[in-house]
């Protein structure tokens, strides 16, 4: 992903862009076995300031974490759940 594409995502706005960039991260992991640094950087920028993840070593930890969570999503998505099973979240009035 080059810088012009990065600027493009930023102009779209965080709320709209995160799902699209996330999908791109998933595709990269599927195709190359890793998520590119640039994609993680955009995800990070969309979250706000980079903070400690400006540090290259910390940034690599985040890149690995994004790959881990996408792999766990792949496991979850490939598991079939009957459509009438709701999430284990209950809103209850007292």
């Amino acid at each position: 992903m080059d810088s012009s594409r990065r600027e493009f995502w930023m102009t779209i706005g965080a709320a709209a862009a995160v799902p699209l960039v996330w999908r791109e991260a998933e595709a990269q992991l599927e195709q190359t076995g890793e998520v590119s640094a640039e994609t993680v950087r955009i995800l990070l920028d969309l979250q706000g300031s980079r903070g400690i993840y400006e540090n290259p070593e910390r940034f690599e930890e985040l890149r690995a974490a994004v790959a881990r969570i996408i792999r766990s999503h792949q496991t979850l998505r490939s598991f079939q759940v009957p459509s009438d099973v709701p999430p284990a979240l209950v809103f209850r009035r007292g």
């Binding site: 706000g48 400690i52 985040l62 690995a64 974490a65 994004v66 881990r68 969570i69 759940v81 284990a88």
Partner: protein, 485 residues
């Protein structure tokens, strides 16, 4: 007398106090002096794991000396005037340092909160104090209740892990530094460390104990429960801390009334999770676990082997905890305090941040699979009083072993398939479970089983544990710390 006092159970201490053979002030002094002698390491807490402990356990982050002695004097006056609040009256306890205590620093095991002093008590501390308990110590824990790394050393062997995240609480209870403690569990943080030191540790049903003013790690998985030197004590403590609390909407309006008599075990159906017993590879450990099952058999329990369906338990747990952890600790990322997290937690920190970016639909999918697991597990469990499995196949590993995730990876079957673990399934399903010691490995480290029951049926879990402890004395074995020549 002082040499024996620190290892007595709550039940034994309670009898002595009620009959005025033991003074709460004397008892509190015994524990404080023991903690000051044996526990305080040559470095401040909370901290990264350290190599040089000066042979101290480091299980206590903050010793509440003056307040504890004042509470003890009040208890003594009340008991002297005939006002006995219950079995915990006048007995010192410790809580994992994620439970708020008014005026006493509560660090969440992190240097980020090293100076955090709450202005009110957590619900659990409120209840224990109302029961006449004496808050004596805030116990060490893995930072933000994650990772199995804690500063607390294992009193059985100082070079062995006490795992996490409630390591300070289990070490303090087993080493006789406190009469009992309160730990927390999201995915195993009471029962797993309890197994490394041979403590009796009870994870109650999700919603049994209020988490008001307790550090959250996962809103939908966190539980608070007792750690003690016997199953009876766990029941006495649970009765004191259980109950509905409008300030924690997860709590249920159900009463827990503890019955210390386990009744007859004959005829009770116990499910055996055979695959976990079969996964124990060391012959010595296998023999210990077989002998433990024989104790239940001799009491007349009826066994039946069960298996759990293959489900992505680990992915569900990881997804829920990463997403909820990311949301819970988001402010620390925003204001950059997260920079102060301990090194051993750095990959977890990254997992939380990744969790904040992940799609909501995947979190909901994880919760849908979890609902399926709950339904299946409830159906299976409804046929049995409880299910039993080794809490861990081996004794506590060396402390210098690589840092493990909060839930150790499940054992693998020869073909490479992952074996579902009762501990993981019980935590996802919100089921109660107790860890009890059943023997020792070849290196004299405790081996333990976990007894898991149906939702809201802690009494049956306790019955089996209490009956086992009537027939055996493993829970009465004390660590050799401090080592005598």
């Amino acid at each position: 007398m002082a040499d024996d006092l620190h290892f007595l159970t709550v039940q034994e201490l309670s009898r002595l106090i009620a009959t005025k053979k033991l003074s709460p002030v004397e008892l509190t002094r015994v524990y404080i002096e023991r903690a000051e002698t044996l526990d305080r390491p040559p470095f401040p807490l909370p901290n990264e794991p350290q190599q040089n402990h000066g042979s101290k356990l480091a299980s206590i982050i903050t010793l509440v000396r003056d307040q504890a002695l004042e509470q003890a004097r009040i208890a003594e006056r009340e008991i002297g005037s005939g006002k006995i609040r219950g079995p915990l009256h006048g007995i010192p306890y410790g809580v994992k340092d994620l439970l708020d205590s008014k005026g006493v620093r509560t660090t969440w095991g992190s240097r980020i909160f090293a100076d955090r002093i709450p202005d009110a008590d957590s619900a659990v501390v409120e209840k224990l104090n109302a029961a006449g308990g004496i808050l004596m110590a805030k116990m060490a824990m893995a930072e933000f209740a994650g990772g199995n790394t804690s500063s607390a050393l294992n009193p059985w062997k100082l070079d062995r892990s006490s795992m996490g995240s409630s390591s300070g609480t289990v070490v303090g209870a087993v080493a006789g530094l406190i009469a009992y403690g309160i730990g927390s569990e999201t995915g195993g943080s009471i029962v797993l460390p309890a197994a490394t030191v041979g403590a009796s540790g009870l994870r109650p049903t999700f919603g049994r104990v209020s988490r008001f003013r307790c550090m959250p790690l996962s809103w939908c998985l966190d539980k608070l429960g007792p750690v003690a030197r016997s199953a009876v004590d766990c029941g006495l403590i649970l009765e004191a801390i259980a109950g509905h609390d409008l300030r924690d909407p997860s709590t249920a309006d159900r009463v827990f009334k503890f019955r210390p008599d386990p009744g007859k075990i004959a005829g009770r159906k116990i499910a055996i999770h055979r695959t976990e017993f079969d996964a124990v590879q060391l012959p010595h450990n296998r023999a210990v676990f077989d002998a433990a099952l024989d104790v239940f058999k001799r009491m007349g329990a009826v066994f039946e082997d069960v298996t759990f369906p293959d489900r992505p338990y680990g992915a569900v747990f990881a997804n829920i905890t990463n997403v909820e952890g990311g949301a819970i600790f988001r402010d620390l990322f925003e204001d950059k305090r997260i920079d102060g997290m301990f090194r051993y937690n750095w990959s977890r920190r990254a997992d939380w941040l990744a969790g904040t970016m992940a799609p909501a639909s995947d979190y909901l999918k994880a919760q849908r699979i979890r609902q399926m697991v709950v339904t299946e597990t409830d159906a299976l469990m409804s046929k049995y009083t409880a299910i039993v499995a080794p809490t861990s196949a081996t004794g506590a590993p060396p402390r210098e072993a690589p840092v493990q995730p909060p839930i150790p990876p499940p054992p693998r079957q020869p073909a490479g398939r992952t074996i579902p673990r009762v501990n993981n399934i019980a935590n996802l399903s919100g089921l109660p479970g107790i860890n009890i010691p059943v023997g020792f490995d070849a290196e004299d480290m405790p081996l333990c089983v976990q007894i898991v029951g149906n939702a809201w049926d802690e009494q049956s879990v306790l019955d089996l544990a209490m009956a086992f402890q009537k027939e055996t004395d493993w829970h009465k074995r004390r660590p050799p710390f401090p080592y005598r020549a």
